[in-house]
Amino acid sequence: MLRDVSFDVRWGEVHALVGENGAGKSTLMNIVSGVVRPDAGELFFENRPVHLHGPRDAQALGIGFVHQELALVPQMSIAENVFLGRYPSARGFVNRRAMHERARQVLAQLGHDMDPQRPVAELSLAERQLVEIARAVAFESRLLIMDEPTAPLSDHDAQALFHSIRLLCERGVGVIYISHRLKEIFELSDRVTVLRDGRLVLTQPPSAVTQEHLVRAMIGDELKQKLQSVAAASVQTGEALRIEGAVNLSIHKGEIVGLAGLAGAGRTELLEWLFGTGGTHSPAAGIWVNGVPVKVRTPRDAIRHGLALVPDDRKAKGLVLGASVLQNISLAAGRSRFFMRRAQEEQAARQWIGGLRIKVAGLSQHAVHLSGGNQQKIVLAKWLVTGARIFLLDEPTRGIDVGAKAEIYDMIRKLAADGAAVLMSSSELEELMGVADRIVVMHRGQIAGELSHADATEEKIMHLATGGVD
């Protein structure tokens, strides 16, 4: 996978590592953290050659890995999670006071004063991320590898995380930072390395490169033009969806409406309520589809009215991971028939696999083996097969690489050009400003304001999202 890659991290620096899925980032990090042994080449730690025989060797040296998927026990406290498996103890008894005290110190080093006795189940996603980092810090790690730590976070929470990372760097900890969000790389990192197809393309301080430069390095030239946002002034022909009540919103056919807001502002709740998932409280009173009032009590009702939901968490809510590509794409369609129509379903699936350029080994490949971008395209294809006309997209590009992102933006624009209505939620403001015709900002379950494509700036959106008034 990797060829001729030479990579180094200095004390106290954030070294960003970027590249598309499959570029070799994971392989490189698995070598550094001792999971994989390289066939050739050498690894130096503090200028001494080291041979890692497993992740434990790496941990003993002070190399910590903050995983993308959080591995915390929700029923246990913050302190218990931080010291999981290696509690401070005397003669087999856990010294709870020492554990809480040390956990408090570690959290303070990260610039937080959370009560270490709180159960993790109560914590927000951002706080859990912090506990995960605290675990590595408590291990006396001097090199931290972070794999897309901000993927599930809103911009606001990401800022708090950056603050913690900077505090660590001041104490001399080196950080390898993997991310798909280019903006934060410019904000946070001291150097950035781009991998493509297992080769190192460049290593530069971010001040020496532009964002465009990085993107081209990551994907080559052919896809570049797709990234340029051309939110075409689409033809608006009638209202597709209207909600009235505590939340008032109207979306026209052919329109892409962006939904911005901090984590917990109620974006996911709104989209899932629209889709009939029956949450505990309704953000609005009534729904109109194409001007007609409709009742949406279950997702089935929603689908019958031409709605489609791409949920925020594709693995938990979007896909049956153990089922085949064909089964996933066909799941929402053809429900009115008793017998499946295999030939017809396969033809439809092939059509959208081609249309969305989904890379699969075959229709019977299991969804679990696909990359994040291809998985998300499968979720999209499932709805395209049903002929849905109103698309509710919740973080449709979370955790997927730049090339696949561009293709998904492309698809969203095509849908809109074709007359479909799109309501798209995202934590990445840049993305919303690039794709949406207008941006609706939520704050505490309410709509705080609305900005047109021309008016929208990050400052204005953040102002509304944090509860500021015009």
Binding site: P299, K317, L331, F339
Partner: protein, 330 residues
Amino acid sequence: MSDAARPVESSLPRHFLSVASLMRKFGPLLGLLILCGALGAASDRFLTADNLLNVCRQSAVNALVSLGQLVVIITAGIDLSVGSILGICCVIVAQLMHAGVPPLFSVVAAFAIGAALGAINGILLTKLHLPHPFIPTLGMMNVARGLALVISGGFPISELPSGFRFWGAGSLGFIPAPLILVVLFAMLFYVFLSRTTIGRDIYAIGGNPQAARLSGVPVDARLILVYSLSGVTAAAGAIVLAGRMNSGFPLAGVGGELDSIAAVIIGGASFLGGVGTVGGTLVGALIMGVLRNGLNLLNVSAAWQTVVIGTVIVAAVWVDIVRQRAAEKG
């Protein structure tokens, strides 16, 4: 229909036909063949036509019950009540016939009661939001067994009409009648699971109930259907067993839930849901039947048979896990 599927298979890269994936598909069958070979070598009475047909007859009840259990396990559920539902259906079908109800109507009534008790399991699970199917079916296991004892007064109801006994003890030519029933049910379940949209829903619910719901699958209705089907196959097992024993006895099917779960799991299904086939389950039921029969022929005592079967169940699941790990690596 199967022709349309073929080009896809052939367009797959070679590793899809790897040893691991073949093992996944045919592992249980291979196990059965090896077992038969070994028993054939150990006893010259094992590999005779008479004995093999006998094995089929003995495995029929468990095979029928296992088909329903399979559908439940595909949804990541479990049905502990099948043995007791079998028991109560046994008693009721016998009692109805003793009361002068024609066999056909008695059989229909038994199926209806099996379906209804299964549906209650499903309704308790989905509408009362009980945390795990273990709970409602454990309750039903006790309630149905208790009712079977109450209805029968604790005594077997013997001497059943010969037309009824055909499905348990009769033959069509040399083919045992219960085998015909198993083949019929297996074909229906195969078509249901692999060719209908409801079947696909059932696999999706087992794979990821949340995603299934958000794709428009009516999860509660499907689960209620699934547990009723399990009740129906338990009733089918009751009819075969009552016919074979010429009696409806209240303790019929004790332990049947565990035999059926074992057959389904040996047949390659997973407790995690989303996986499992009719063919595998039939092979699983045959493995259980062949083992019991072979150990009998070898004069192994009933006590030791239990030990062997317990070991085989654990070993089969362990082999399955090894298989899955190999598949993930390959």
